[in-house]
């Protein structure tokens, strides 16, 4: 079935899967968002524990989605995996480090004799909550603003030194952190804007999830206060980033000779020339706005789902804009021709088709996740409920 598809179609198929995983990852960052809110939304220790347990029952999903996102990228577009992870070393390690601390912090926070103390584990959770969404946003933004690296697949035959033999070489000693202060074309501003957008969105999704999951009045009152501010802040940050994106020069690929060149308002063109991206973007934005409307004016629990679906669709559209319509999705500003495209970074036709069969498992995975999610979220969580639980964070 899949092996009869063209190489290009398989690359597109896999980019859609990567985009879907990216969308789910950003949505699931609500767990991180919740971690940053544990003090803001609670009056006392037991309320804090309620909040920690609400997001705590879901941390494995975010964590696993991140790992699968990395694994799927490795399998389908290995050149991105080797170039970005090996190059933007510090950005990725900062993200990973934040996740190492998260996994244990939930489990050990309230355990007796935990050596480091509850406060330390809470600090770890907050660090993960702030750093992971922000840095993931910055990393995604560099798909549009570019990074400083070179790629030469023929380096492997260099017998001079082991440095020369490396295919992907990052060109700054900051290894990715420079995304935060690169002045050319105000790249730093763009990158930071998306980082902050993702962070505020994660908190917003968390607020709506907490609203849905608890009936503690104090917590709910604080959530009500936070939602409007976060909604406005998110819209300002994200729309500034997005509107600027439509006007910056983008990294286009000439389909005839694979040459990469800069094209004025390339990403605007990508929307106009590729209606699918446009439709998904519009659906996403409408769903986000509808969710915000329901959250702010109706205080409906369902708002979480509208905002969630909107988040997933919008992220997918952003990924589509980065790669489809002859665009280099991981551009190099150091050497344009080193820029990474779907075609030059993809796995072989054979591997992509094998992996396409594997992707048929995704609906089953989604089905049991939905079942498990429903079963687990059937009860509201409050102090009383938690007292009766034998297992809790």
């Amino acid at each position: 079935m899949f092996e009869t598809l063209s190489y290009e179609t398989l690359q597109i198929y896999w980019w859609i899967i990567i985009s879907l995983l990216g969308g789910f990852l950003v949505f699931l960052l609500f767990v991180q968002g919740g971690q940053t809110l544990m003090d803001r939304l609670s009056n006392n220790e037991s309320e804090k524990t309620v909040i920690v347990n609400i997001t705590g029952h879901k941390w494995e999903f975010t964590f696993t989605t991140l790992v699968v996102f990395g694994g799927a990228f490795f399998a389908s577009f290995p050149l991105f995996y080797s170039t970005s992870f090996g190059g933007a070393y510090w950005v990725w390690y900062a993200i990973l480090f934040a996740f190492i601390l998260q996994a244990v912090s939930y489990e050990y926070r309230k355990k007796k004799n935990n050596v480091l103390g509850s406060k330390t584990f809470e600090t770890f959770l907050k660090f993960n909550g702030f750093a992971a969404p922000f840095l993931l946003g910055v990393a995604v933004s560099t798909m549009f603003t570019g990074s400083l690296f070179s790629v030469n697949k023929a380096n492997i035959v260099h017998l001079g030194s082991n440095y020369e033999a490396v295919i992907s070489q990052w060109q700054t000693p900051w290894h990715g952190l420079e995304a935060l202060w690169t002045l050319e074309h105000l790249a730093f501003l763009q990158n930071i804007l998306l980082g902050l957008s993702v962070l505020v969105l994660a908190r917003l999704n968390a607020l709506l999830y907490i609203r849905k999951m608890t009936d503690n009045k104090n917590i709910l009152a604080k959530v009500d206060k936070c939602v409007p501010r976060h909604s406005i802040l998110f819209l300002v940050l994200f729309l500034t980033w997005f509107i600027r994106l439509l006007f910056i020069d983008g990294f286009a690929v000439n389909p005839f000779n694979n040459e990469v060149y800069l094209q004025a308002h390339k990403y605007f063109n990508n929307l106009v020339e590729n209606p699918i991206s446009l439709i998904i973007l519009l659906l996403g934005l409408i769903s986000v706005l509808y969710g915000l409307y329901k959250a702010n004016f109706k205080k409906e629990e369902k708002a979480f789902w509208y905002l969630g679906v909107g988040t997933i669709l919008t992220v997918m559209a952003v990924f589509f804009m980065a790669a489809f319509n002859n665009t280099a999705y991981y551009p190099s500003t150091f050497d344009l021709q080193s820029s990474i495209t779907l075609a030059n970074s993809a796995s072989s036709h054979y591997t992509l088709s094998v992996m396409a069969y594997v992707s048929l498992m995704v609906p089953f995975v989604l089905a049991y996740i939905i079942w498990a999610w429903r079963a687990m979220d059937s009860h509201k969580l409050n102090e009383k409920e938690l007292e009766q639980e034998t297992e809790k964070y």
Binding site: A75, F85, H175, Y368
Partner: protein, 523 residues
């Protein structure tokens, strides 16, 4: 290769070793205990006996403490191929990435979804649904082991692929060959059954401790009963697959076998050292020898002494007492009589392959297709030695794995494995006879088992990984060509960052675990 930044290579290796060894402190327990939990819960659901629920919940608490840190240490490994071994990631990513992705889609989601239900779903879903979740957690964890070991097995014995000179990488040709790679299959079974063994040792150790303290006697003995049966099946399977593993190493990685046995010169009817040590470590500087090995300063004149089993090695490696087992010298200098080429020849051949590939690229670029074809032919003829070409002009010692480490870890693993084979029946027998409480010596040995088990686990991985040095992919890519283009200082920073973090978390884990254990089943 004229210049190699060995510091970078060694620190990158050290970081991978650190993260992998730390990860492996926790994984075996997850792999085995998850099945034991499923068995306990099944008994509970079938009999309705609340005692089994209490037993399960105690072990579940310990499972959770261990699971969190296992996950935490694992995430680095998934990304470390890219961050620290970026050349490797492109060179073989077309094959190696697939099992990692499948592991995520097929196993990690299953594991993480159902582990949450296993912990928090007690009052939310029916008993049977909960039991299903517990079983699926166990299956999920073991499936993840399947895929990661398929990936590791492929590095030891690369099959099912072909080099594509236009993309300059290896590409998958046959997925089933990768999955059913004999090395991978054997490695999978060997690893998970050894993990079951370790989990059983853990359960016995904790139960033995409680018995020594005179606490929760009934629960502890029931736990021991399950664990001793589970562990015995585990160790028998581990030994059988260990034998299979030795035969595969002999076939695909003869240098690893020579290092494991410290075999200087090969022979027909080679004896097996049962207990012994490399000779050059007799004069009380074992530490120095290990340090030398780590720096790659192996001495070619290794020799071991100890208690020998006649013909043992030939039988272990080839099932034939008269089979020829090559030693380090045979492999380095070649052995014409046995048809083994020398490393000098292989290096020469590998260099021809690399240069032909470079010339192919040039000819292709210039549009000389006929010439390119010729180079391609030469490249393919010598491809089996491709990785050796990078060692042109290097000290031959760099192609020899650290012998002291390989020898000591291999023998430690085998000796302790043999002890477990005796240990589990002893426990089973004493529990059945209902006199284990009186046998304080056995209980103390039981407590010690946790440490011995851990040493065996780590020794196994050290044998497998140190023994295959300098190859990240056997015969195709050495460590020095696989690393990323990063500063050594950067790797040192992440190394110490992980070292300090993991150690702090480990201390916290041990404290929490021992507090929970001391409270016993009636918590």
């Amino acid at each position: 290769m004229e210049h190699v930044n060995w510091e970078l290579v060694d620190w990158s290796r050290a970081q991978f070793a650190l993260t992998a060894l730390y990860h492996w402190i926790f994984v075996p327990l997850t792999l085995g205990l998850s099945f034991m939990l499923a068995i306990m819960e099944t008994i509970y659901v079938k009999t309705g006996d609340e005692k089994w629920l209490k037993i399960e919940k105690f072990w579940l608490r310990l499972f959770g403490i261990n699971f969190a840190i296992g996950v935490a240490t694992g995430i680095i490994l998934e990304f470390e191929f890219g961050t620290n071994w970026s050349n490797y990631s492109w060179f073989v990513g077309d094959i190696f990435g697939a099992p990692l992705a499948i592991e995520g889609i097929m196993a990690f989601f299953m594991e993480s979804t159902f582990v949450a239900i296993m912990f928090f779903g007690w009052n939310k879903i029916s008993k049977k649904a909960h039991l299903t979740a517990t079983w699926l957690t166990a299956i999920g964890t073991n499936l993840s082991a399947l895929w990661i070991l398929t990936a590791n097995g492929w590095m030891q014995n690369p099959v099912g692929m072909k080099f594509n000179p236009d993309t300059m990488r290896n590409e998958m040709e046959n997925f089933w060959e990768v999955l059913f790679n004999p090395v991978a299959v054997n490695k999978f079974v060997h690893t998970i059954t050894s993990a079951y063994t370790f989990s059983a040792l853990f359960v016995i150790a904790v139960s033995a401790y409680l018995l020594l303290k005179g606490k929760d006697k009934v629960y502890a003995k029931y736990s021991m009963l399950i664990a001793s049966v589970f562990g015995f099946i585990g160790i028998v399977a581990t030994i059988i697959t260990g034998d299979g593993s030795a035969k595969q190493v002999a076939k695909y990685q003869p240098m690893k076998l020579a290092a494991m046995e410290g075999l200087r010169t090969g022979s027909r009817g080679a004896p097996l050292i049962a207990i012994g040590k490399p000779k050059h470590t007799t004069d009380k500087d074992l530490t120095k020898a290990i340090a030398d090995d780590f720096k790659g300063n192996n001495q070619l004149d290794v020799e071991v002494e100890g208690f020998e089993i006649p013909y043992g090695l030939s039988v272990l490696a080839f099932n034939d007492p008269n089979a020829f087992v090559p030693g380090v010298n045979d492999l380095v200098y070649g052995n014409e009589k046995e048809g083994i080429p020398s490393y000098a020849e292989r290096i020469k051949s590998g260099k021809i392959s690399i240069e032909a590939l470079a010339n192919y690229k040039k000819a292709k670029k210039a549009g000389n297709n006929d010439e390119a074809e010729q180079y391609l032919k030469t490249f393919k003829e010598h491809f089996k030695d491709f990785g050796y070409g990078y060692f042109d002009g290097h000290d031959m010692n760099e192609l020899i794995p650290p012998i002291t480490i390989s020898f000591m870890s291999f023998h430690t693993m085998v000796i302790l494995g043999t002890w477990f084979l005796i240990f589990f029946p002893l426990i089973f027998w004493s529990v059945m006879k209902n006199n284990i409480e009186k046998k304080k010596w056995l209980l103390r040995l039981g407590v010690l088992g946790i440490l011995l088990g851990l040493i065996t686990q780590e020794a196994g991985w050290i044998t497998a990984e140190a023994g295959r040095m300098p190859w990240v992919i056997q015969d195709l890519m050495p460590t020095m060509v696989a690393v990323s283009h990063i500063e050594t200082s950067g790797v040192m920073i992440t190394f110490f960052l992980f070292f300090i973090t993991f150690t702090a978390l480990l201390i916290a884990e041990l404290k929490i675990m021992s507090t929970t254990i001391k409270k016993g089943f009636n918590n």
